[in-house]
Amino acid sequence: MQPAAAFASLEELVRQIPDGASITVPVDGAGVALAATLALIRRGARGLNLITAPNSGLQADLLIGAGCVAAIETAGVTFGEYGGAPRFVDAVRRGTITVKDTTCPAVFAQLQAAEKGQPFTTLRGILGTDLLANRPDWAVIDNPFLPGDKVVALPAMRADIALFHAPMADAEGNVWIGRRRELLTMAHAAKTTLVTVEEVRDGSFLDDEQLAAGTIPAMYLGAVAEAKRGATPLGLAGRYGVDDGFLRDYVELARSEAGFARMLDRLMGAARAAAE
């Protein structure tokens, strides 16, 4: 039998995220580790370098509002139809966090470069944008195979940690993510990956041809913690939907710091109740 991933409690899992760490997180609804995010806020994390793959909503807004974030690299932070991300917008305007604006395919391309162990990658587009003008860490180079053909060079994105939530792990700590294969790329690209899951099942997903293709092997995972409804109040495809009422209240109330504190308390209270 192969070495298994380490199973951990939520608190043990977030202790593996030191202050100042760079963390990749997925899009709202694609498996956001919201319960772990609350545990991270309870731990009082500071100075995180948050990288959204490629955009975020509630998770980024909570971490920013709770003072955990020094910098965010993102293609967008929004609550979609519910409205703008209040703590993100406030922090950007006040200059209390550093923002590195990017574009979705750049993030994916940089993660793919990292998972291959390559130093950089190139991407079409982006030329002539103010994204490029504000990214001294990006470069414009000549296509070596077609001189004069300019392309944007982007450094590999090797985060300290990838953090996400998935439907299930097996007894060996392999994690099934199904078609959400950006999670697989994130896990490959990061130095280590911390995952929460709805449930832990007996046996090995790798013994089942249908499950194996959608599975992240335990080798990539630093810790796996069980967290039932671990994405709520966000949804998890095939399991549960978003808490519509919460998100509607949040975008309104979290425009003030006091309102944000109340919404955070509401989530913490619900998390405590779920743990008991």
Partner: protein, 245 residues
């Protein structure tokens, strides 16, 4: 023409739908129920020739390689049409999804971010700009931040770009050679003067600007039946309110 009453959203769907005719694959991003409905309507009329990707949908999203697959599909020429908007759009079709006023990054108004625009605007052959609000706040002489440029210098790889602009007031084409919008039609109940008053940049127009045709009875029946049901899967609240009867 039809004398059946219709909603503004039904009109906009019926304005966008013909722009998609002949496309093999149309994709609509997040928070795009009107483009999504137009794509589903055109698919229905395509007799099985057109594929539609509605981001956020389960039924109308066939991607199995994660969120990044949309960009890979676009980069390899498998996506004909995409929709983009902007907090600001200028007369050269530059779009700004980042922020306005003040100095970046500390803009007075901060929007979510550029998402995939900086890439899709270059590689998708037909990008349709869609913004319901038609005011000088949106349609500015020059955007404060270029999330994606309307045109590129010669020699830059750019098979794609803006082709049309649809708003609550009018339909424009974009002429990439002249780097200008051309007013094609003004929606019923609105005037060329209203469009001029509410647009902060110059654009071309014919001597006589046609009125946008109202949706016909068959279109309205399709919207209020099949399309309402199909779009409700992703946008339930929109489906409840956007359609008459």
């Amino acid at each position: 023409m039809s004398d059946i009453a219709y909603t503004t959203k039904e009109l906009l769907i019926s304005v966008i739908a013909p722009l998609l005719a002949g496309c093999r694959h149309v994709a609509c991003g997040a928070s795009s129920p009107i483009p999504g409905s137009a794509a589903l309507l055109t698919r229905m009329r395509s007799h099985g020739q057109m594929r539609v990707t509605v981001l956020g949908s389960q039924k109308n999203n066939f991607f199995t390689n994660g969120n990044g697959e949309l960009f890979d599909v676009a980069g390899t020429g498998r996506l004909d049409t995409f929709f983009l908007g902007g907090g600001q759009i200028d007369g050269q079709a530059n779009i700004n999804l980042v922020g306005a006023g003040g100095t970046y990054p500390r803009n007075d108004v901060r929007w979510p971010g550029s998402f995939g625009s900086a890439y899709l605007y270059f590689v998708v052959p037909k990008v349709i700009l869609f913004r319901e609000e038609h005011t000088r706040r949106v349609f500015v002489p020059k955007v404060d931040f270029i999330s994606a440029p309307g045109v590129s210098e010669p020699g830059i790889y750019r098979p794609g770009g803006p082709r049309h602009l649809v708003t609550n007031l009018a339909l424009f084409d974009f002429d990439p050679a002249r780097v200008r919008f051309v007013l094609k039609s003004v929606h019923p109940g609105h005037s060329v003067e209203e469009v001029l008053d509410n647009t902060g940049f110059d654009f071309d127009r014919p001597d006589v600007v046609p009125e946008t045709p109202a949706p016909d009875a068959a279109t309205l029946a399709a919207l209020r039946g099949t399309i309402r049901r199909e779009i409700a899967e992703t946008y339930p609240r929109f489906a409840e309110t956007a359609f008459a009867a």
